[in-house]
């Protein structure tokens, strides 16, 4: 059972990691937690569902559709709910937080109106395919999810470190003002960050549909909270932290259930955060305490 649980944990963890990346990117650049991220992820899942079941298109198109829609949502979010608050007197971080909370409430109920309540089946054509590796049964779906996650994470890391745009984004995250002085179009960078983060949420949504086969309009909330726990654990603003944190959370949740008491599964995430905040507030990969304490 251990190996099977390990695979479960890694699959879950990689999805968590992608969701967390969305949070960490936005936090790194804007210093705010985008509470609407979970709902955007949920919409991505539904768009994927509609593409696959209503339009009957193949899975890659589902990813495309989800990415396009969630990227657009990210754009709207940034333009309408976040940008007007930047640089305004009296607008604390709290105002942006509440603004994104408003968006999340709106999106959750909008999804209910559009897609209906209850669970919806997300069919993957190759859901049944599995193969045995030694004593363990591995499903093709799990392999695909892991592969896509690694691709995405690797691609993002590479892009951030090698490409000009990626470096400009990191500069903006490091210090908004200085980046602006150095000629980076910070507004565009910020918009790009939110769009990319949202698109990643969209990918994660489709992956969740593939992994668990059922989606409903409530998945944004719980996933959102977990994503939050992960970036605290891994270090807010740190890409490697989000990846590592996601994996660790997925594994620990799975193993707590497997070997401990399944009643405390959700509490694990929060116990982890509280511990890490007390012991190492900047998270596993975060920056040194002086700067991390905002």
């Amino acid at each position: 059972m251990f190996l099977e649980q390990l695979i479960n944990g890694v699959t879950l963890g990689s999805i968590y990691a992608i969701v967390a990346l969305g949070y960490t990117l936005v936090f790194g650049v804007l210093d705010i937690i985008n509470m609407a991220h979970g709902e955007i992820f949920m919409f991505g899942a539904f768009v994927g569902l509609l593409v696959v079941s209503k339009a009957g298109a193949p899975l890659p198109v589902a990813f495309l559709g989800a990415v396009v829609v969630t990227a657009a949502m990210g754009l709207l979010l940034e333009r309408l709910a976040l940008r007007p608050l930047r640089g305004r007197p009296g607008a604390s971080h709290l105002a942006s937080l509440i603004s994104t909370i408003g968006v999340s409430i709106l999106l959750e109920n909008l999804a209910h109106k559009l897609f209906g309540a209850g669970n919806h089946l997300f069919e993957t054509p190759f859901a049944e395919i599995s193969f045995k590796v030694g004593p363990v049964t591995v499903y093709l779906v799990q392999v695909v999810i892991l592969f896509i996650s690694l691709l995405l994470m690797g691609g993002l890391a590479l892009w951030l470190s090698r490409s000009r745009a990626g470096k400009a984004l990191r500069a903006t995250a490091e210090n908004l003002e200085t980046a602006g002085l150095l000629g980076v179009d910070t507004n565009r960078m910020i918009t790009a960050t939110v769009v990319i983060a949202s698109a990643m949420g969209g990918v994660a949504g489709v992956l969740v549909g593939m992994a668990f086969n059922y989606i409903n309009n409530q998945i944004g909330l719980s996933m959102g909270l977990k994503g939050l726990a992960i970036i605290i654990f891994g270090g807010m603003g740190s890409v490697y932290g989000a990846m590592a944190g996601g994996l660790i959370l997925g594994l620990s949740e799975t193993f707590v259930v497997a070997y401990g008491s399944s009643g405390y599964r959700d509490a694990i995430a929060f116990v982890a955060i509280i511990l890490i905040l007390l012991v190492r507030p900047q998270g596993l990969f975060g920056q040194a305490p002086a700067e991390a304490r905002r």
Partner: protein, 313 residues
């Protein structure tokens, strides 16, 4: 008194409980600490009052007091380690505390009954009615029906508690303690070098906020007569935060207004129940975009005072 509608009294009662919660988050916020654990402290207050009154026949006021005090004590326990954190880290840690507490409430079945909750908690209004009935009093003598009397009693008790709480903290804000809070909020290190015992005041604010949340929780238990872990989720913690930020986080009347207003909005929109939360979300976004400091800010209050009172615009 046919115009006394228990429905309106009910909504007003929830407005008052939410107002106390709004003040509870404001108190810690006034020292610059954003605590999102108030749903957890509320749960402590509610369950303490519920357990004491249902299992140990403790009189309601004693139970409410015990619940508040216990919550306040928990506030000290949470406040001390939280000193090392600030900003959004503190917020999330306290949110985490609330969630862990909820998990405990669900899993510690022998004490709390788990997800089933605690029912048949003595309801303040009904208890008063019975007590008055034993002394030969009937609501009819006031021209009231039983349920009007019950709702009115609950409302008046809550009103008293809310007014006292707000008055206390209004007074506090102008005392030495309040000035210390404000100084800490503005610049912690400067306050420390000015000789203010920062640690003491920060933990004090934390426990005061927790105590208020506990009070609100105990009152909640004795108004709805049933509590379960589902009443104290992070949804509620976020809701309390929204009251404070929407209403205005710079002055104590802000969260009070925010709580009152945002409790009424979903009720008023019942006729379009399909869309009311879509509108609610939209309202939050619009308010933040157009007036991020919240509805009530010191400038508005100054204008109101200068104009010599009267009905605000």
């Amino acid at each position: 008194m046919e115009w006394l509608n228990p429905y309106h009294l009910q909504v007003a009662s929830f407005m008052l409980i939410n107002a106390i919660l709004g003040v509870s988050i404001y108190v810690t916020l006034s020292t610059g600490q954003l605590s999102l654990g108030n749903a957890g402290f509320m749960g402590i207050g509610a369950y303490t009052a519920a357990l004491l009154s249902t299992q140990h026949q403790v009189p309601i006021p004693v139970g409410i007091l015990a619940g508040s005090v216990l919550a306040g004590a928990a506030g000290i326990l949470v406040g001390i380690p939280s000193l090392r954190l600030s900003g959004v880290y503190l917020a999330i840690a306290t949110l985490g505390f609330g969630e862990v507490l909820r998990a405990v409430l669900i899993n510690w079945e022998s004490l709390t009954g788990g997800a089933v909750g605690i029912a048949a908690i003595p309801q303040m209004g009904r208890v008063v009615l019975a007590w008055a009935g034993d002394r030969g009093f009937s609501p009819g003598s006031l021209g009231l029906q039983s349920n009007q009397f019950i709702s009115l009693t609950v409302f008046l008790i809550l009103l008293l508690c809310t007014v006292l709480s707000v008055a206390f903290f209004l007074r506090l804000s102008r005392s030495r303690v309040g000035r210390a809070y404000a100084a800490i909020r503005l610049d912690e290190s400067a306050a420390a070098s000015a000789g203010i015992p920062v640690t003491y005041y920060k933990v004090l604010a934390f426990s005061q906020g927790a105590l208020l949340s506990g009070l609100a929780g105990a009152l909640f238990a004795h108004s709805t007569s049933f509590v379960s872990p589902a009443d104290f989720t992070y949804h509620r913690a976020v809701e309390i935060l929204v009251f404070a930020v929407f209403g205005g986080s710079e002055h104590i009347l802000g969260p009070v207004f925010g709580a009152a207003f945002l409790t009424v909005v979903p009720e008023a929109l019942r006729s379009i129940s399909d869309y009311r939360y879509i509108l609610y979300g939209l309202l939050l976004v619009l308010m933040m975009v157009f007036r991020p400091q919240g509805v009530i800010d010191p400038a508005l209050l100054r204008r109101f005072r200068r104009s010599g009172g009267g009905v605000p615009a």
